[in-house]
Protein backbone atom coordinates (compact mmCIF):
# COMPACT_ATOMS: atom_id res chain seq x y z
CA UNK A 1 0.00 0.00 0.00
CA UNK A 2 2.84 2.40 0.81
CA UNK A 3 4.28 1.67 -2.59
CA UNK A 4 0.98 2.38 -4.32
CA UNK A 5 0.70 5.69 -2.50
CA UNK A 6 4.26 6.55 -3.47
CA UNK A 7 3.52 5.75 -7.10
CA UNK A 8 0.41 7.91 -7.10
CA UNK A 9 2.36 10.82 -5.68
CA UNK A 10 5.02 10.36 -8.32
CA UNK A 11 2.47 9.98 -11.10
CA UNK A 12 0.57 13.15 -10.34
CA UNK A 13 3.53 15.12 -8.98
CA UNK A 14 1.46 15.77 -5.89
CA UNK A 15 4.20 17.65 -4.08
CA UNK A 16 3.60 20.49 -6.49
CA UNK A 17 0.33 21.03 -4.61
CA UNK A 18 2.31 22.20 -1.61
CA UNK A 19 2.67 25.54 -3.35
CA UNK A 20 -1.10 25.85 -3.60
CA UNK A 21 -1.40 24.97 0.08
CA UNK A 22 1.03 27.80 0.84
CA UNK A 23 -1.01 30.23 -1.21
CA UNK A 24 -4.20 29.06 0.51
CA UNK A 25 -2.55 29.71 3.89
CA UNK A 26 -1.59 33.22 2.89
CA UNK A 27 -5.12 33.88 1.66
CA UNK A 28 -6.63 32.59 4.89
CA UNK A 29 -4.36 34.88 6.90
CA UNK A 30 -5.48 37.74 4.73
CA UNK A 31 -9.04 36.75 5.49
CA UNK A 32 -8.40 36.96 9.25
CA UNK A 33 -6.91 40.43 8.85
CA UNK A 34 -9.94 41.45 6.86
CA UNK A 35 -12.30 40.21 9.56
CA UNK A 36 -10.28 42.08 12.17
CA UNK A 37 -10.39 45.40 10.32
CA UNK A 38 -14.03 44.99 9.31
CA UNK A 39 -15.09 44.48 12.93
CA UNK A 40 -12.88 47.31 14.09
CA UNK A 41 -14.40 49.80 11.67
CA UNK A 42 -17.80 48.97 13.13
CA UNK A 43 -16.44 49.42 16.64
CA UNK A 44 -16.60 45.70 17.53
CA UNK A 45 -13.91 43.28 18.60
CA UNK A 46 -13.22 40.48 16.15
CA UNK A 47 -11.26 38.23 18.45
CA UNK A 48 -12.47 38.52 22.06
CA UNK A 49 -10.50 35.42 23.09
CA UNK A 50 -8.52 32.57 21.61
CA UNK A 51 -11.35 30.03 21.69
CA UNK A 52 -13.54 32.18 19.47
CA UNK A 53 -10.55 32.91 17.26
CA UNK A 54 -9.78 29.27 16.64
CA UNK A 55 -13.42 28.46 16.07
CA UNK A 56 -13.44 31.12 13.40
CA UNK A 57 -10.13 29.93 11.99
CA UNK A 58 -11.46 26.38 11.84
CA UNK A 59 -14.51 27.46 9.91
CA UNK A 60 -12.19 29.02 7.33
CA UNK A 61 -9.58 26.27 7.14
CA UNK A 62 -11.95 23.27 6.97
CA UNK A 63 -13.97 24.34 3.92
CA UNK A 64 -10.83 25.37 2.08
CA UNK A 65 -9.26 21.96 2.44
CA UNK A 66 -12.42 19.94 1.93
CA UNK A 67 -12.80 21.66 -1.41
CA UNK A 68 -9.09 21.20 -2.00
CA UNK A 69 -9.63 17.50 -1.34
CA UNK A 70 -12.37 17.45 -3.97
CA UNK A 71 -9.84 18.84 -6.42
CA UNK A 72 -7.50 16.01 -5.48
CA UNK A 73 -10.28 13.44 -5.93
CA UNK A 74 -10.95 14.88 -9.36
CA UNK A 75 -7.32 14.68 -10.26
CA UNK A 76 -6.59 11.25 -8.80
CA UNK A 77 -9.77 9.39 -9.67
CA UNK A 78 -12.26 11.24 -11.87
CA UNK A 79 -9.71 12.40 -14.40
CA UNK A 80 -8.19 8.95 -14.59
CA UNK A 81 -11.58 7.77 -15.74
CA UNK A 82 -12.01 10.65 -18.14
CA UNK A 83 -8.61 10.25 -19.76
CA UNK A 84 -9.08 6.48 -19.76
CA UNK A 85 -5.78 5.97 -18.03
CA UNK A 86 -7.84 4.03 -15.50
CA UNK A 87 -7.92 1.18 -18.04
CA UNK A 88 -4.17 1.09 -17.78
CA UNK A 89 -4.29 1.00 -14.02
CA UNK A 90 -6.91 -1.73 -13.95
CA UNK A 91 -4.86 -3.99 -16.18
CA UNK A 92 -2.07 -4.19 -13.66
CA UNK A 93 -1.76 -7.23 -11.45
CA UNK A 94 -3.07 -5.28 -8.47
CA UNK A 95 -6.51 -5.40 -6.87
CA UNK A 96 -8.61 -2.51 -8.05
CA UNK A 97 -9.88 -1.84 -4.56
CA UNK A 98 -6.34 -1.46 -3.31
CA UNK A 99 -5.60 1.04 -6.05
CA UNK A 100 -8.63 3.13 -5.17
CA UNK A 101 -8.04 2.89 -1.43
CA UNK A 102 -4.48 4.12 -1.95
CA UNK A 103 -5.86 7.14 -3.77
CA UNK A 104 -8.46 7.82 -1.10
CA UNK A 105 -5.89 7.50 1.64
CA UNK A 106 -3.88 10.22 -0.03
CA UNK A 107 -6.96 12.44 -0.09
CA UNK A 108 -7.93 11.75 3.54
CA UNK A 109 -4.39 12.09 4.89
CA UNK A 110 -3.85 15.24 2.91
CA UNK A 111 -7.03 16.81 4.28
CA UNK A 112 -6.19 15.86 7.85
CA UNK A 113 -2.61 17.07 7.70
CA UNK A 114 -3.42 20.22 5.76
CA UNK A 115 -6.05 21.24 8.30
CA UNK A 116 -3.84 20.42 11.27
CA UNK A 117 -0.72 22.09 9.97
CA UNK A 118 -2.44 25.11 8.46
CA UNK A 119 -4.36 25.82 11.67
CA UNK A 120 -1.20 25.32 13.65
CA UNK A 121 0.78 27.60 11.35
CA UNK A 122 -1.79 30.38 11.10
CA UNK A 123 -2.50 30.10 14.83
CA UNK A 124 1.16 30.52 15.62
CA UNK A 125 1.49 33.53 13.38
CA UNK A 126 -1.65 34.94 14.97
CA UNK A 127 -0.26 34.37 18.45
CA UNK A 128 3.05 36.03 17.59
CA UNK A 129 1.25 38.98 16.05
CA UNK A 130 -0.90 39.24 19.15
CA UNK A 131 2.10 39.21 21.45
CA UNK A 132 3.40 42.27 19.58
CA UNK A 133 0.22 44.26 18.95
CA UNK A 134 -2.08 42.88 21.68
CA UNK A 135 -5.38 42.88 19.84
CA UNK A 136 -6.94 39.96 21.71
CA UNK A 137 -8.23 41.24 25.07
CA UNK A 138 -8.15 37.87 26.85
CA UNK A 139 -4.83 36.14 27.29
CA UNK A 140 -4.29 32.53 26.20
CA UNK A 141 -4.34 30.00 29.03
CA UNK A 142 -2.88 26.51 29.03
CA UNK A 143 -6.37 25.04 29.50
CA UNK A 144 -7.53 26.80 26.36
CA UNK A 145 -4.59 25.42 24.39
CA UNK A 146 -5.44 21.81 25.21
CA UNK A 147 -9.12 22.43 24.51
CA UNK A 148 -8.35 24.04 21.17
CA UNK A 149 -5.94 21.28 20.25
CA UNK A 150 -8.46 18.57 21.08
CA UNK A 151 -11.17 20.27 19.02
CA UNK A 152 -8.73 20.70 16.18
CA UNK A 153 -7.86 17.00 16.00
CA UNK A 154 -11.51 16.01 16.09
CA UNK A 155 -12.56 18.43 13.41
CA UNK A 156 -9.60 17.46 11.23
CA UNK A 157 -10.56 13.79 11.46
CA UNK A 158 -14.17 14.65 10.67
CA UNK A 159 -13.13 16.73 7.68
CA UNK A 160 -10.82 14.00 6.39
CA UNK A 161 -13.75 11.61 6.33
CA UNK A 162 -16.16 14.14 4.94
CA UNK A 163 -13.76 15.06 2.19
CA UNK A 164 -14.45 11.65 0.63
CA UNK A 165 -18.19 12.25 0.22
CA UNK A 166 -17.86 14.19 -3.08
CA UNK A 167 -16.34 11.05 -4.62
CA UNK A 168 -19.74 9.40 -4.57
CA UNK A 169 -21.39 12.16 -6.57
CA UNK A 170 -18.40 12.63 -8.86
CA UNK A 171 -18.27 8.94 -9.72
CA UNK A 172 -21.93 8.87 -10.74
CA UNK A 173 -21.23 10.88 -13.82
CA UNK A 174 -17.44 10.80 -13.80
CA UNK A 175 -17.52 14.55 -13.72
CA UNK A 176 -15.05 17.00 -12.22
CA UNK A 177 -17.55 19.86 -11.81
CA UNK A 178 -19.98 17.56 -9.97
CA UNK A 179 -17.25 16.53 -7.57
CA UNK A 180 -16.25 20.07 -6.74
CA UNK A 181 -19.76 21.47 -6.58
CA UNK A 182 -20.84 18.69 -4.24
CA UNK A 183 -17.88 19.55 -2.02
CA UNK A 184 -18.93 23.18 -1.96
CA UNK A 185 -22.51 22.24 -1.07
CA UNK A 186 -21.18 19.89 1.58
CA UNK A 187 -19.11 22.53 3.31
CA UNK A 188 -21.85 25.10 3.15
CA UNK A 189 -24.21 22.64 4.81
CA UNK A 190 -21.92 21.51 7.58
CA UNK A 191 -19.90 24.59 8.23
CA UNK A 192 -22.49 27.23 8.87
CA UNK A 193 -21.64 29.28 11.93
CA UNK A 194 -24.19 31.92 11.10
CA UNK A 195 -26.36 31.31 14.14
CA UNK A 196 -23.30 30.87 16.33
CA UNK A 197 -23.81 27.15 16.64
CA UNK A 198 -20.73 25.30 15.57
CA UNK A 199 -21.73 21.72 14.95
CA UNK A 200 -18.14 20.59 15.34
CA UNK A 201 -18.47 21.34 19.04
CA UNK A 202 -20.39 18.16 19.75
CA UNK A 203 -18.06 15.21 19.61
CA UNK A 204 -20.63 12.85 18.15
CA UNK A 205 -21.21 14.92 15.07
CA UNK A 206 -17.66 15.06 13.71
CA UNK A 207 -17.22 11.35 14.34
CA UNK A 208 -20.51 10.56 12.62
CA UNK A 209 -19.53 12.75 9.66
CA UNK A 210 -16.17 11.03 9.35
CA UNK A 211 -17.78 7.61 9.39
CA UNK A 212 -20.46 8.66 6.90
CA UNK A 213 -17.73 9.94 4.58
CA UNK A 214 -15.85 6.67 4.70
CA UNK A 215 -19.02 4.67 4.19
CA UNK A 216 -20.16 6.71 1.22
CA UNK A 217 -16.72 6.51 -0.31
CA UNK A 218 -16.82 2.75 0.13
CA UNK A 219 -20.18 2.54 -1.61
CA UNK A 220 -18.86 4.42 -4.59
CA UNK A 221 -16.31 1.72 -5.37
CA UNK A 222 -17.83 -1.34 -3.75
CA UNK A 223 -18.46 -3.10 -7.06
CA UNK A 224 -15.37 -1.94 -8.83
CA UNK A 225 -14.12 -5.48 -9.52
CA UNK A 226 -17.37 -6.40 -11.22
CA UNK A 227 -18.31 -3.45 -13.36
CA UNK A 228 -17.18 -2.57 -16.85
CA UNK A 229 -14.61 0.12 -17.39
CA UNK A 230 -15.43 2.17 -20.40
Amino acid sequence: MRKLIRLEIKKFKLFSYLKSVGIANAAMMGMLCLIYFAEKSEGGIAFPNYEVTFELLGSIVRPVFIIFAAVLISRLIIEEYKSKSITLLFMYPIHRKKLIIAKLMIVACFTFLAIMLSTFFIGTVFYLADSIWHFVPEALTLGQVTGIFFDLILSAIASAGMALIPLYFGMKKKSVPTTIVSAIILVSLTNSTADDVDIYRFIAIPIALALTGCLIAYFSFRNIEKIDVN
Binding site: S83, S85, L88, F90, Y92, P93, I94, E225
Partner: protein, 307 residues
Protein backbone atom coordinates in the same frame (compact mmCIF):
# COMPACT_ATOMS: atom_id res chain seq x y z
CA UNK B 1 -2.84 -28.28 -28.85
CA UNK B 2 -1.95 -25.58 -26.34
CA UNK B 3 -4.15 -22.53 -26.52
CA UNK B 4 -3.20 -19.24 -24.91
CA UNK B 5 -6.60 -17.69 -25.44
CA UNK B 6 -9.75 -19.70 -25.62
CA UNK B 7 -13.25 -18.32 -25.38
CA UNK B 8 -16.41 -20.29 -25.03
CA UNK B 9 -19.69 -18.77 -26.27
CA UNK B 10 -18.45 -15.35 -25.25
CA UNK B 11 -21.28 -12.82 -25.35
CA UNK B 12 -21.63 -9.20 -24.35
CA UNK B 13 -24.90 -7.29 -24.43
CA UNK B 14 -25.21 -3.55 -24.03
CA UNK B 15 -28.75 -2.38 -23.37
CA UNK B 16 -30.28 -5.44 -24.94
CA UNK B 17 -28.10 -5.26 -28.03
CA UNK B 18 -25.58 -7.99 -28.62
CA UNK B 19 -22.21 -6.41 -29.30
CA UNK B 20 -20.36 -9.69 -29.14
CA UNK B 21 -22.29 -12.87 -29.73
CA UNK B 22 -21.24 -16.45 -29.04
CA UNK B 23 -17.61 -16.03 -29.95
CA UNK B 24 -15.48 -19.15 -29.77
CA UNK B 25 -11.98 -18.17 -30.60
CA UNK B 26 -8.78 -20.07 -30.11
CA UNK B 27 -5.34 -18.55 -30.18
CA UNK B 28 -2.47 -21.00 -30.30
CA UNK B 29 0.70 -20.50 -28.38
CA UNK B 30 3.36 -18.61 -30.29
CA UNK B 31 1.24 -17.50 -33.20
CA UNK B 32 0.19 -14.07 -34.37
CA UNK B 33 -3.56 -13.99 -34.44
CA UNK B 34 -5.05 -11.23 -36.56
CA UNK B 35 -8.40 -9.88 -35.61
CA UNK B 36 -10.00 -8.54 -38.73
CA UNK B 37 -13.28 -6.71 -38.98
CA UNK B 38 -14.86 -3.40 -39.84
CA UNK B 39 -15.15 -0.62 -37.30
CA UNK B 40 -17.64 -1.41 -34.60
CA UNK B 41 -17.54 -5.14 -35.23
CA UNK B 42 -16.70 -5.90 -31.61
CA UNK B 43 -12.93 -6.33 -31.80
CA UNK B 44 -12.18 -3.89 -29.01
CA UNK B 45 -14.98 -5.23 -26.82
CA UNK B 46 -13.55 -8.74 -27.07
CA UNK B 47 -10.10 -7.43 -26.23
CA UNK B 48 -11.50 -5.54 -23.27
CA UNK B 49 -13.13 -8.72 -22.05
CA UNK B 50 -9.82 -10.54 -22.38
CA UNK B 51 -8.18 -7.92 -20.18
CA UNK B 52 -11.03 -7.91 -17.66
CA UNK B 53 -11.99 -4.30 -18.35
CA UNK B 54 -15.39 -5.41 -19.58
CA UNK B 55 -17.18 -8.35 -18.06
CA UNK B 56 -18.88 -10.85 -20.34
CA UNK B 57 -22.65 -11.11 -20.15
CA UNK B 58 -22.28 -14.83 -20.66
CA UNK B 59 -19.63 -17.24 -21.77
CA UNK B 60 -16.15 -17.96 -20.53
CA UNK B 61 -12.61 -16.92 -21.21
CA UNK B 62 -9.56 -19.04 -20.62
CA UNK B 63 -6.12 -17.48 -20.61
CA UNK B 64 -3.06 -19.72 -20.39
CA UNK B 65 -5.45 -22.53 -19.58
CA UNK B 66 -6.88 -20.72 -16.57
CA UNK B 67 -10.38 -19.39 -16.31
CA UNK B 68 -10.48 -15.61 -16.21
CA UNK B 69 -12.35 -14.31 -13.16
CA UNK B 70 -12.87 -10.90 -11.60
CA UNK B 71 -9.86 -11.37 -9.42
CA UNK B 72 -7.41 -13.20 -11.64
CA UNK B 73 -4.87 -10.45 -11.33
CA UNK B 74 -1.84 -12.70 -11.47
CA UNK B 75 -2.56 -13.44 -15.13
CA UNK B 76 -1.94 -9.82 -16.03
CA UNK B 77 1.71 -10.15 -15.14
CA UNK B 78 2.06 -12.34 -18.20
CA UNK B 79 0.29 -9.97 -20.56
CA UNK B 80 0.99 -6.71 -22.29
CA UNK B 81 -1.66 -4.73 -24.05
CA UNK B 82 -2.86 -1.68 -25.87
CA UNK B 83 -6.62 -1.26 -25.77
CA UNK B 84 -8.49 1.21 -27.95
CA UNK B 85 -5.83 3.86 -28.24
CA UNK B 86 -2.58 4.55 -26.47
CA UNK B 87 -3.22 6.21 -23.11
CA UNK B 88 -0.48 7.79 -21.06
CA UNK B 89 0.01 10.13 -18.18
CA UNK B 90 0.43 13.10 -20.46
CA UNK B 91 2.32 15.34 -18.13
CA UNK B 92 5.12 12.83 -17.64
CA UNK B 93 7.90 11.97 -20.03
CA UNK B 94 8.04 8.72 -21.95
CA UNK B 95 10.64 7.33 -19.60
CA UNK B 96 8.65 8.25 -16.52
CA UNK B 97 5.61 6.54 -17.99
CA UNK B 98 7.58 3.38 -18.61
CA UNK B 99 9.11 3.49 -15.14
CA UNK B 100 5.68 3.76 -13.58
CA UNK B 101 4.48 0.87 -15.70
CA UNK B 102 7.36 -1.31 -14.56
CA UNK B 103 6.71 -0.49 -10.93
CA UNK B 104 3.04 -1.31 -11.16
CA UNK B 105 3.82 -4.54 -12.98
CA UNK B 106 6.40 -5.44 -10.38
CA UNK B 107 9.21 -5.54 -12.91
CA UNK B 108 12.53 -4.11 -11.91
CA UNK B 109 14.97 -4.39 -14.77
CA UNK B 110 16.19 -0.87 -15.45
CA UNK B 111 17.82 -1.79 -18.74
CA UNK B 112 14.50 -3.06 -20.05
CA UNK B 113 13.29 0.51 -20.56
CA UNK B 114 16.18 1.39 -22.84
CA UNK B 115 15.96 -1.80 -24.82
CA UNK B 116 12.20 -1.40 -25.28
CA UNK B 117 12.58 2.18 -26.49
CA UNK B 118 15.30 0.92 -28.78
CA UNK B 119 13.13 -1.82 -30.22
CA UNK B 120 10.39 0.60 -31.22
CA UNK B 121 12.98 3.14 -32.41
CA UNK B 122 11.96 6.04 -30.22
CA UNK B 123 14.83 8.46 -29.87
CA UNK B 124 15.49 11.95 -28.52
CA UNK B 125 12.44 12.02 -26.33
CA UNK B 126 14.04 12.49 -22.94
CA UNK B 127 12.87 16.01 -22.29
CA UNK B 128 9.46 15.80 -23.87
CA UNK B 129 6.26 15.12 -22.04
CA UNK B 130 4.03 12.61 -23.77
CA UNK B 131 1.51 15.39 -24.42
CA UNK B 132 3.78 16.65 -27.19
CA UNK B 133 3.99 13.28 -28.92
CA UNK B 134 2.38 12.59 -32.27
CA UNK B 135 -0.07 9.71 -32.55
CA UNK B 136 2.59 7.61 -34.25
CA UNK B 137 5.06 8.24 -31.44
CA UNK B 138 2.43 7.44 -28.84
CA UNK B 139 1.66 4.23 -30.69
CA UNK B 140 5.34 3.27 -30.59
CA UNK B 141 5.61 4.17 -26.95
CA UNK B 142 2.51 2.11 -26.18
CA UNK B 143 4.08 -0.86 -27.89
CA UNK B 144 7.28 -0.29 -25.97
CA UNK B 145 5.25 -0.28 -22.78
CA UNK B 146 3.43 -3.44 -23.74
CA UNK B 147 6.60 -5.39 -24.49
CA UNK B 148 8.84 -4.00 -21.78
CA UNK B 149 8.03 -6.69 -19.25
CA UNK B 150 8.57 -9.47 -21.81
CA UNK B 151 5.03 -10.81 -21.60
CA UNK B 152 3.94 -14.16 -22.97
CA UNK B 153 0.84 -12.68 -24.53
CA UNK B 154 0.49 -9.36 -26.28
CA UNK B 155 -2.94 -7.90 -26.98
CA UNK B 156 -2.63 -5.02 -29.39
CA UNK B 157 -5.67 -3.11 -30.56
CA UNK B 158 -5.01 -1.33 -33.85
CA UNK B 159 -1.28 -0.98 -33.23
CA UNK B 160 -0.48 0.40 -36.66
CA UNK B 161 -2.96 3.24 -36.57
CA UNK B 162 -1.31 6.58 -37.07
CA UNK B 163 1.98 5.20 -38.32
CA UNK B 164 3.67 6.13 -41.56
CA UNK B 165 4.56 3.40 -44.09
CA UNK B 166 8.12 3.15 -42.82
CA UNK B 167 6.83 2.85 -39.27
CA UNK B 168 4.39 0.17 -40.30
CA UNK B 169 7.17 -1.84 -41.88
CA UNK B 170 9.37 -1.46 -38.80
CA UNK B 171 6.59 -2.64 -36.57
CA UNK B 172 5.78 -5.55 -38.82
CA UNK B 173 9.40 -6.65 -38.53
CA UNK B 174 9.25 -6.10 -34.79
CA UNK B 175 6.14 -8.24 -34.47
CA UNK B 176 7.72 -11.04 -36.45
CA UNK B 177 10.84 -10.79 -34.38
CA UNK B 178 8.90 -10.90 -31.08
CA UNK B 179 6.93 -13.84 -32.31
CA UNK B 180 9.79 -15.86 -33.74
CA UNK B 181 12.61 -15.05 -31.35
CA UNK B 182 10.78 -14.60 -28.07
CA UNK B 183 7.87 -16.90 -28.82
CA UNK B 184 5.37 -14.26 -27.76
CA UNK B 185 1.77 -14.99 -28.65
CA UNK B 186 0.06 -12.00 -30.18
CA UNK B 187 -3.49 -10.95 -30.72
CA UNK B 188 -3.48 -8.01 -33.11
CA UNK B 189 -6.56 -6.26 -34.39
CA UNK B 190 -6.84 -4.14 -37.48
CA UNK B 191 -9.19 -3.22 -40.23
CA UNK B 192 -6.35 -2.82 -42.69
CA UNK B 193 -6.42 -6.01 -44.72
CA UNK B 194 -3.09 -5.74 -46.44
CA UNK B 195 -1.31 -5.42 -43.14
CA UNK B 196 -3.07 -8.33 -41.54
CA UNK B 197 -2.15 -10.45 -44.49
CA UNK B 198 1.51 -9.75 -43.91
CA UNK B 199 1.54 -9.97 -40.14
CA UNK B 200 -0.81 -12.70 -39.07
CA UNK B 201 -0.47 -16.46 -38.97
CA UNK B 202 -4.14 -16.98 -38.28
CA UNK B 203 -6.97 -14.64 -39.02
CA UNK B 204 -10.23 -14.33 -37.19
CA UNK B 205 -12.82 -12.47 -39.21
CA UNK B 206 -15.39 -10.73 -37.10
CA UNK B 207 -18.49 -8.84 -38.14
CA UNK B 208 -21.48 -7.65 -36.15
CA UNK B 209 -20.08 -9.25 -33.04
CA UNK B 210 -19.83 -12.69 -34.56
CA UNK B 211 -16.68 -14.56 -35.35
CA UNK B 212 -17.42 -15.51 -38.91
CA UNK B 213 -14.33 -17.46 -39.70
CA UNK B 214 -11.10 -18.49 -38.11
CA UNK B 215 -8.61 -19.47 -40.74
CA UNK B 216 -4.85 -19.84 -41.04
CA UNK B 217 -3.03 -17.77 -43.64
CA UNK B 218 -1.68 -20.97 -45.19
CA UNK B 219 -5.20 -22.10 -45.92
CA UNK B 220 -6.05 -18.77 -47.51
CA UNK B 221 -2.97 -18.94 -49.69
CA UNK B 222 -4.00 -22.37 -50.90
CA UNK B 223 -7.35 -21.06 -51.95
CA UNK B 224 -5.81 -18.15 -53.77
CA UNK B 225 -6.50 -18.05 -57.46
CA UNK B 226 -5.11 -15.93 -60.17
CA UNK B 227 -7.30 -14.21 -62.67
CA UNK B 228 -7.12 -11.70 -65.44
CA UNK B 229 -9.14 -8.56 -65.12
CA UNK B 230 -10.18 -7.00 -68.37
CA UNK B 231 -11.80 -3.66 -69.15
CA UNK B 232 -13.25 -3.23 -72.60
CA UNK B 233 -15.42 -0.71 -74.45
CA UNK B 234 -17.95 -3.12 -75.87
CA UNK B 235 -18.99 -5.73 -73.35
CA UNK B 236 -21.44 -7.58 -75.55
CA UNK B 237 -18.94 -8.06 -78.30
CA UNK B 238 -16.23 -9.06 -75.89
CA UNK B 239 -18.55 -11.57 -74.27
CA UNK B 240 -19.21 -13.07 -77.66
CA UNK B 241 -15.52 -13.35 -78.43
CA UNK B 242 -14.64 -14.89 -75.09
CA UNK B 243 -17.51 -17.30 -75.20
CA UNK B 244 -17.84 -18.31 -78.82
CA UNK B 245 -14.40 -17.83 -80.27
CA UNK B 246 -12.05 -18.51 -77.38
CA UNK B 247 -14.41 -21.04 -75.76
CA UNK B 248 -13.61 -19.84 -72.29
CA UNK B 249 -15.79 -21.36 -69.65
CA UNK B 250 -14.71 -19.79 -66.41
CA UNK B 251 -15.18 -16.06 -66.67
CA UNK B 252 -17.65 -13.52 -65.40
CA UNK B 253 -18.85 -9.99 -65.93
CA UNK B 254 -17.96 -7.81 -62.96
CA UNK B 255 -19.60 -4.56 -64.00
CA UNK B 256 -20.62 -2.71 -67.16
CA UNK B 257 -17.15 -2.83 -68.66
CA UNK B 258 -15.16 -5.42 -66.75
CA UNK B 259 -14.55 -9.12 -66.99
CA UNK B 260 -12.68 -11.49 -64.82
CA UNK B 261 -11.21 -14.50 -66.53
CA UNK B 262 -10.31 -17.37 -64.25
CA UNK B 263 -9.39 -19.75 -67.02
CA UNK B 264 -5.66 -20.23 -67.05
CA UNK B 265 -5.45 -22.21 -70.25
CA UNK B 266 -4.94 -19.16 -72.39
CA UNK B 267 -2.21 -16.59 -71.89
CA UNK B 268 -2.86 -12.90 -71.54
CA UNK B 269 -1.37 -12.09 -74.92
CA UNK B 270 -3.48 -14.66 -76.71
CA UNK B 271 -6.67 -13.29 -75.20
CA UNK B 272 -5.80 -9.72 -76.08
CA UNK B 273 -4.76 -10.65 -79.58
CA UNK B 274 -8.03 -12.44 -80.29
CA UNK B 275 -10.09 -9.64 -78.80
CA UNK B 276 -8.38 -6.99 -80.87
CA UNK B 277 -8.58 -9.02 -84.06
CA UNK B 278 -12.32 -9.24 -83.48
CA UNK B 279 -12.60 -5.51 -83.06
CA UNK B 280 -12.91 -5.26 -79.27
CA UNK B 281 -10.98 -2.34 -77.83
CA UNK B 282 -9.13 -3.17 -74.63
CA UNK B 283 -8.83 -0.33 -72.15
CA UNK B 284 -7.10 -2.19 -69.40
CA UNK B 285 -5.80 -5.65 -68.71
CA UNK B 286 -4.33 -6.88 -65.47
CA UNK B 287 -3.25 -10.12 -64.01
CA UNK B 288 -4.48 -10.26 -60.45
CA UNK B 289 -4.16 -12.36 -57.39
CA UNK B 290 -7.13 -13.26 -55.35
CA UNK B 291 -6.08 -11.34 -52.25
CA UNK B 292 -7.19 -11.46 -48.69
CA UNK B 293 -9.37 -8.49 -49.52
CA UNK B 294 -11.55 -10.55 -51.81
CA UNK B 295 -11.63 -13.34 -49.32
CA UNK B 296 -12.62 -10.98 -46.59
CA UNK B 297 -15.26 -9.22 -48.61
CA UNK B 298 -16.67 -12.55 -49.64
CA UNK B 299 -17.04 -13.55 -46.04
CA UNK B 300 -18.61 -10.27 -45.06
CA UNK B 301 -21.03 -10.23 -47.93
CA UNK B 302 -21.75 -13.86 -47.44
CA UNK B 303 -21.95 -14.34 -51.17
CA UNK B 304 -20.14 -14.50 -54.48
CA UNK B 305 -16.99 -12.73 -55.49
CA UNK B 306 -18.91 -9.99 -57.21
CA UNK B 307 -18.14 -6.77 -55.49
Amino acid sequence: MCYVIKTNQLTKTYKGKEVVANVNMKVKKGEIYGFLGPNGAGKTTIMKMLTNLVKPTSGEIELFGEKLTNTSYELFKRMGSIIEYPVFYDRLTARENLELHCEYMGYYDKRAIDSALDLVKLKNIDNKSVKEFSLGMKQRLAIARAIITKPELLILDEPINGLDPVGIKELRDLFHMLSHEYGITMLVSSHILGEMEQIADTIGVINDGKLIKEVSMDEIHEQNTEYIELAVTDVKKAFYVLDEILHLENFKVVDSSRFRIYDTALSQSEISKTLILNGVMIEEMNKKNHSLEDYFLTLLNGGGISA
